[in-house]
Symmetry: C2
Subunit: 247 residues, 2 copies
Amino acid sequence: MRQTAGMPIDAPRTARERARAEITAEILDTARIHLARDGAAALSLRAVARDLGMVSSAVYRYVPNRDALLTMLIIDAYDGLGGAVETSEGAVARTDYLDRFLATCHAVRTWAIAHPQEYALIYGSPVPGYAAPEDTIGPASRVPVVLITIIVDLQSSGRAPRPAPVDAGVAASIAPISDFAGGQVPPDLLLRGMASWSGLFGAVSFELYGHLHNVVAEGTAARTAYFDHQMRRVAEGLGLGSGTVAR
Amino acid sequence: MRQTAGMPIDAPRTARERARAEITAEILDTARIHLARDGAAALSLRAVARDLGMVSSAVYRYVPNRDALLTMLIIDAYDGLGGAVETSEGAVARTDYLDRFLATCHAVRTWAIAHPQEYALIYGSPVPGYAAPEDTIGPASRVPVVLITIIVDLQSSGRAPRPAPVDAGVAASIAPISDFAGGQVPPDLLLRGMASWSGLFGAVSFELYGHLHNVVAEGTAARTAYFDHQMRRVAEGLGLGSGTVAR
DNA sequence: TGTACATCAGTGAACGCGCGTTCACTGATGTAC
DNA sequence: TGTACATCAGTGAACGCGCGTTCACTGATGTAC
């Protein structure tokens, strides 16, 4: 988007191209700050322009419209979360499947707490009047890919529990993700992975959106202990547990 | 709010009072329609007034401001969901704990699919610039109360699995809900209940917000089969399962 | 039962705000010969 | 290397929109004597 079509991937050379890249980056940075402060619904091209000392119409040289800016921020958020998760999970020894899963969970939660509005942008209720384009699919799948990879690795290690048989209708319902996994992973494992996926995001969303108010004590320590416990329970359901959940 | 302070609870008697009650209801109904169509962020007092053939300032006779209208709609949504869940769950024989749980899950999902914007209003990302008052706490707890009651009933039936011991820090983290339950329910069971709660809403939110796109096949049959399977798995973790999850 | 006064519903104009987007224009930067 | 032309960044005004909320006012309904 910030490269002229047909250009090779190398850095911009002329002063104009350098300036264009820099200002585009500044617009994105400022938009990110506004998003973090006021949320996606309140994101305004005029306010971004104002902050950059530009006249509002000038940003149209860099961004076609508000929706495109939102799309950039969404991709940005998916990539930010995806990168954080991949780094955390990647630092764990490949055969410690439970720890890889827990690292993934905690990385998601930590990132979400640090970037609540960006989290809401990608995992909250859809922004009214905005339709996500296909460009977001790749970045959006980074976290699920990590989760599925843990399952697949566990399976190929031979240490996975025998996959349970699954009702044909249920197996058929997950055909899309089955195909994505190359048909190699038994449906039971995929279903476990997806259960962990929605359990993880359910827990994070509940905490972030205030539904633990009057339920779990406030404060980092209590909230982290609670979350860790619940994710260990989810791991049990994955066949990743090391005996009992309580520790 | 629609009763003069100090009035007894009986129905309005004078023509004025009857008219006031009716018009307040009409405003709420129209607001509900707008909410369902355009979402909470776009809810506008002017638009509601327009639809009712009133001048915009006239609604201020009935509703103090936009936030108050949102609060009414939030309470309304919690009550709508709570009522639907209580009805479904209440129709199941008291000792069929698994079926009571599954009825709860399916009732939540069915209601959410029928009322996506209302669901988003209460379980999606918070409406920007709106702070929920304390009035919503009661209606908001109807669903969790149903879930916890199933757990408590199961426990007192003697058919519950032996509650596992729970780390002291984790037990302390759920002090608020423990106190709410009168300290009678072992922490392990409360934690299981809450895991089911966030697992349930995680699954519904994922489906509603489009995160099953390219993952689970489109269509009611596939989606329902998938959801049912995953909720049975969650029930397993609750100690509610009847052996194996696959069916 | 009839009249005088108080209460309330609804009007219409206004204030002040912010938004996305377009368009004709100026002046600076880059390019081709 | 120097000049003529093309490209692009940024300006400023404007269009058209919608919003929440306030306020002085009219006219209808209810209440007290």
